[in-house]
């Protein structure tokens, strides 16, 4: 089945793709993917007929997908929608989409991505606080660990709606952006590596070799005690650049490369 249109949402936003397909009266399925997340929008004679992403379906799914700023898309023509979950007129849906995309611009200053986590603000202005039901529903799910996408999923709402409420609550001082769960520690190399590096390098450069290694380690903004695995090749490359004799340099690099491969 041929794909007539494919690309990246960062270059061609979904709203523009839908406008194009709709104006051409296309029928088919638009596949969208952003890492592990996927979505599908079906068009029939240029009208949006069905949309699905995760547990969301219909208009909710369309609005969530419009919030994706990155990811890949491909349009497969002549595929019929398995069901009619979108009942809003396409023109109205695209207008609402355009409005939301514009609003997203402001919201993203506070919520740049849907993996942002919120927590209750410990300080707020004195006086009574009145909440709308949808605000309470969102606030009740804020726990300092659940992110925007997870809250939307939990509530069966699109991410834009939830982000908009969170944006309002944060602007009112009731919420603040929390810290994301800490990233796992970087894998580091053990002392055995530096013993071997020292030994090989000192063999070539003499006793000052140790000092030269320390200088390169410092220049990489690291320490020997917790040197990250991902920078080891760079360290070896820079250290070996100090060897002016081509043959010795090649021999040293060969030994170190062998060692790097076995790390």
């Amino acid at each position: 089945m041929p794909e007539v249109l494919s690309g990246n949402l960062a270059q061609l936003p979904l709203l523009e793709i839908l406008k194009l397909l709709s104006s051409e009266g296309q029928t088919g399925r638009l596949n969208l993917s952003d890492g592990p997340n996927t979505g599908e929008i079906y068009l029939g004679d240029g009208s949006l007929a069905h949309a699905v992403t995760g547990a969301q379906i219909g208009e909710t799914a369309v609005y969530t997908l419009m919030g994706w700023l990155q990811g890949d898309f491909s349009f497969v023509p002549d595929v019929a929608a398995p069901e009619d979950s979108v009942t809003t007129a396409t023109e109205q849906l695209l207008l609402e989409g355009a409005r939301r995309v514009k609003e997203w611009g402001d919201i993203k200053k506070v919520i740049p991505a849907t993996d942002v986590v919120f927590r209750l603000s410990p300080t707020t202005s004195a006086g009574a606080v009145t909440l709308e039901p949808e605000e309470w529903q969102v606030l009740a799910r804020v726990n300092g660990a659940r992110n925007v996408a997870e809250m939307a999923q939990d509530m069966g709402q699109d991410e834009f709606t939830v982000a908009k409420v969170l944006y309002g609550l944060a602007s009112a001082g009731l919420l603040e952006v929390g810290e994301k769960p800490e990233a796992p520690p970087r894998p580091t190399i053990n002392g055995g590596f530096f013993d071997r590096l020292n030994s090989e390098f000192v063999d070539v450069m003499g006793p000052l070799g140790t000092v030269m290694i320390d200088e390169v380690v410092a220049a990489l903004d690291e320490t020997r005690d917790s040197f990250p695995r991902e920078k080891v090749a760079e360290l070896v490359e820079q250290v070996s650049a100090e060897i002016s004799d081509e043959e010795k340099q090649a021999r040293f690099q060969e030994i170190m490369l062998e060692m790097l491969r076995s790390l």
Partner: protein, 145 residues
């Protein structure tokens, strides 16, 4: 030479590598995917770039092209050019180190050198391979040297 390419391809993020003559025609390749059909075109682009830089007095022994979806590293082997096609997130320091070791080995290998010698061509910008404006600019730059 095939072993050397296999060694390069073993670096995380490398999708394939090949050696072409100085006019871009492939001599030997090792690919992980069906990319080989594009190799001659890539080889011509790379060698023409190297030849153009040499013409303008800016000769380089190494080129590194970073695209959104790929990275291309090329090394001048004098009688030929080594080209490596990579993912954008290739472990570049590991690749450079591997290339350094592999190229030193190739330089000292008489069999490789005689194989490359048999295909040795002078680097040269071919008019048919570049657009009219680039050709004109190169002519102007050559005259200005």
């Amino acid at each position: 030479m095939e072993e050397a390419l296999a060694e390069i391809n073993a670096v995380a993020g490398v999708r394939g590598s090949f050696v072409c003559d100085n006019l871009g025609t492939m001599i030997v390749s090792a690919v992980m995917t069906g990319l080989d059909a594009s190799f001659d075109a890539i080889g011509r682009e790379v060698t023409q770039t190297m030849a153009a830089l040499e013409t303008t007095g800016e000769a380089v022994s190494e080129l590194d092209f970073a695209y959104e979806g790929a990275r291309l590293v090329a090394h001048d082997l004098e009688k030929a050019v080594l080209v490596v096609l990579c993912e954008p997130e290739v472990e570049i320091a590991m690749l450079r180190l591997t290339l350094s070791v592999v190229m030193a080995r190739l330089k000292g290998d008489t069999e490789t050198q005689s194989r490359l010698e048999a295909r040795a061509e002078e680097k040269e910008v071919v008019q048919d391979e570049v657009d009219e404006m680039s050709w004109h600019l190169l002519e102007v730059l050559k005259k200005g040297r």
